[in-house]
């Protein structure tokens, strides 16, 4: 009797010890990763779904999500503060395409080479633009999350009605817009809507007609190669469209959502905006242009070639994270073709892999990806610089001032050159 009790107690104790031990190991393997996942336009709801998929496959990992900042500038200000304080609370950051160089230069990002692989091999299957913007000093600074680009949206119905073909150059566009504006006789109908307020979009407003002449703003090493005559001509092109009544006079006040809202209200024939606008035109209840919208490549300058401004978001691991291997593993998953396909199908977020654009499931879910592919592949990256904050500020402030006609295009371009000569060398 006595002996049996003793045995039972022993077994119970042993079971307890084993149980405790396994509980401890489970506890030891449980890693919590905190991810900054951008603002509402970066679709944290879809990212959460991907994180759930990852958690299901990796029971030891729990992923917390943090969101904030409606615009790229607001997010940059927030992240600069957090990272400057060497905060280890956040392991992974979603950052705008323009930021890897600056953040890596500041020592805020963990190089991913030893976790994921050599940049040249790893980035090969992605769109070409990402292999330049995510490699800093030969190291893998970040991995592509999803793409974005400036698109030329247009009113298919109005072009068809007035027998106008998709314009290939800016001059053709101005002529087409003027023809439609005259025929419609609506004083509120704008020919073209671009962003002229001093926001990030204005950097693209400066670059589009400049690139459209086949010029580059910087070489591969980041040195500025500004062709002043071409840049002046680019800005003058916008102003001449203002004079012709194609672009509205207060263009220097126009922000990204203004273009979206005015196009939705049927007041715009051609509009330049990011990829997210497509869903707004198509799905929003207050959109008066549902089913009337087309997408085409951006016009070139006469004798030049079409080029657009590529955006998009990247995953980066914090240099101050305490869980770098686990974080890098998650980043690898989030930048995989499966994740890219999921985001394309579920949220029509543009894919970072060329192959996804022709994937049968994706084309079925988002037919306009066929048109989008050519635009994105022809896309160029904004200047890559460790001082991008300054580069962006100088270009957008000056562009806005030129569009407000407080500076001439030539003066504006000279100012851009002299202010950036020090930082982009």
């Amino acid at each position: 009797m006595m002996r049996r009790t003793y045995l039972t107690a022993l077994t119970a104790a042993a079971a307890l010890v084993v149980g405790l031990a396994s509980a401890t190991t489970a506890f030891a393997q449980q890693t919590t990763l905190r991810v900054f996942s951008g603002g509402a336009n970066q679709r944290p709801d879809l990212m959460r779904k991907l994180f759930d998929q990852y958690q299901a496959k990796n029971p030891g990992v729990k992923i917390d999500i943090e969101t904030g900042g409606a615009t790229s500038e607001l997010q940059r200000q927030y992240l600069s503060t957090v990272l400057n304080a060497k905060d280890s609370a956040i392991d992974i950051y979603m950052i705008d395409i323009v930021n890897p160089a600056q953040y890596f230069g500041a020592g805020w990002l963990e190089p991913l080479d030893s976790y994921i692989g050599k940049p040249a091999d790893v980035l090969k299957p992605y769109l070409p633009v990402y292999s330049t913007s995510n490699v800093v000093d030969g190291k893998l600074a970040a991995m592509p999350a999803f793409a974005d680009a400036m698109f030329m949206y247009y009113r298919k119905d109005l072009l068809d009605k007035h027998g106008v073909k998709e314009p290939k150059t800016w001059d053709e566009l101005a002529a087409a817009a003027t023809k439609i504006q005259k025929a419609e006789g609506n004083a509120n109908l704008q020919g073209l809507s671009i962003q002229g307020a001093p926001i990030e979009g204005a950097v693209c407003t400066f670059l589009l007609p400049y690139w459209g002449q086949g010029k580059d703003f910087n070489d591969a090493s980041g040195k500025m190669t500004l062709d002043k005559a071409a840049a002046t001509k680019g800005l003058a092109t916008w102003l001449s469209m203002v004079d012709q009544g194609v672009i509205k006079k207060n263009v220097a006040e126009v922000k990204t959502p203004d273009t979206v809202n005015e196009f939705k209200a049927g007041q715009v024939i051609f509009a330049i905006n990011w990829g997210f606008a497509w869903d707004r035109f198509k799905d929003d209840k207050d959109s008066t242009v549902q089913g009337k919208v087309g997408v085409m490549p951006l016009p070139a300058m006469t004798g030049g070639k079409s080029a657009t401004c590529v955006g998009g978001w990247q995953w980066a691991v914090s240099a101050f994270s305490k869980n770098k291997p686990a974080a890098a593993n998650l980043v690898k998953f989030m930048s995989s073709p499966e994740a890219s396909k999921f985001l394309a199908q579920e949220g029509s977020l543009l894919a970072t892999y060329q192959s996804v654009y022709t994937d049968a499931d994706v084309v079925k879910a988002v037919p306009w990806f066929k048109d989008a592919a050519n635009v994105v592949i022809a896309g160029k990256s904004r200047p890559i610089s460790k001082d991008y904050g300054q580069v962006s500020d100088v270009i957008r402030t000056t562009t806005s001032a030129v569009l407000a006609r407080t500076k001439t295009p030539a003066d504006g371009v000279s100012e851009i050159e002299s202010r950036l000569a020090r930082v982009m060398r």
Binding site: Q77, G105, A106, N250, T397, A401, T406
Partner: protein, 300 residues
């Protein structure tokens, strides 16, 4: 033996020791949140401290200060800041005085007047800036709507895209926002003036105008000085309203010193030069405050 005396001394401190002990917590707190940051700011201003450069931190002595004096952006921002101060401080004083006099009238119900006084003051600066930015918007703004209906339906003015108009719009917004603070302080001062002074003046045949200049203003002087000091210091630090209305634009024609410091440190990540600019602004505020304190000394 020695410890015993030390404990005794703590238990029954001399007046001097007690004073030190009582002041110590406040002094330590101030040292931590005022002296240390200012010291660190001045320290940083002697370094080339660019977070984006990756070139490391380099001691550069007074080089940053030499750059400030050659920097046209600094002089532009300093000019704008001083202009905003020179326009909005007297502007708010005049409007605030009017509001205070109005609120001091013997209304049957005092609360609607006082509420109207308090509202602009209670509104966050950034909200005021955003609201007025909408007012002055070329197409959607109420200002242009009124102009269109009342004056002429011609070409709408682009208020915030013309440097001088944008500057005027910002000053107007600041005056609207800050005159209620002026009015509150002046109202408190007005209520301290004994009625008997006005009665005596009336007996002597003084007009309302004479009463205002001979009684109200002199009796109100201490309140006016206090209000002016506070308002001037906050005017030198103007940031929120121009930032939300124009972001310093068009170009940098409405950029203030505080905005330039913010841009240099947060957007450009140039902490060294940003600190230098901040020290310059600190010196400017210090000079203005010293000037006022000296004037008060004379008055007292």
């Amino acid at each position: 033996m020695a410890t015993a005396t030390a404990i005794d001394r703590l238990r029954d401190p001399s007046e001097k020791t007690l004073g030190v002990m009582l002041l110590a917590p406040a002094f330590l707190l101030l040292a931590l949140i005022v002296v240390y940051p200012i010291g660190k700011l001045i320290w940083n201003s002697f370094f080339d401290l660019r977070l984006s450069g990756g070139s490391g931190i380099k001691f550069v002595g007074l080089e940053n200060y030499a750059l400030v004096f050659k920097d046209p952006d600094f002089w532009n921002a300093a000019k704008n800041t001083v202009l905003i101060t020179l326009i909005t401080v007297p502007g708010a004083l005049v409007v605030g005085m009017g509001l205070a006099m109005l609120a001091n009238l013997p209304f049957k119900r005092k609360w609607p007047v006082r509420l109207a006084l308090l509202l602009p003051w209670a509104l966050p600066l950034a909200f005021a800036g955003l609201i007025f930015a909408w007012f002055f918007h070329t197409e959607y703004g109420v200002v242009n709507d009124i102009v269109r209906r009342a004056v002429s339906p011609a070409e709408p003015a682009m208020w915030l895209l013309r440097p001088n108009w944008a500057f005027a719009a910002i000053c107007l917004t600041i005056i609207w926002k800050t005159s209620s603070f002026m009015a509150l302080i002046l109202l408190a001062g007005l209520q301290m003036i004994p009625k008997s002074l006005y009665e005596a003046a009336e007996v002597d045949g003084a007009s309302k105008w004479q009463q205002f200049w001979q009684i109200t203003i002199p009796m109100l002087m201490p309140s006016i000085i206090v209000a002016l000091i506070f308002r001037t210091i906050t005017a030198l630090q103007t940031f929120d309203i121009p930032y939300t209305m124009t972001k310093g634009g068009p170009g940098n024609s409405t950029e203030t010193l505080a905005m330039l410091i913010h841009k240099t440190t947060i957007d450009y990540l140039d902490v060294g030069y940003g600190s230098t600019l901040a020290v310059c602004m600190f010196v400017l505020s210090l000079c203005v405050t010293a000037f006022y304190l000296k004037r008060i000394g004379k008055n007292a």
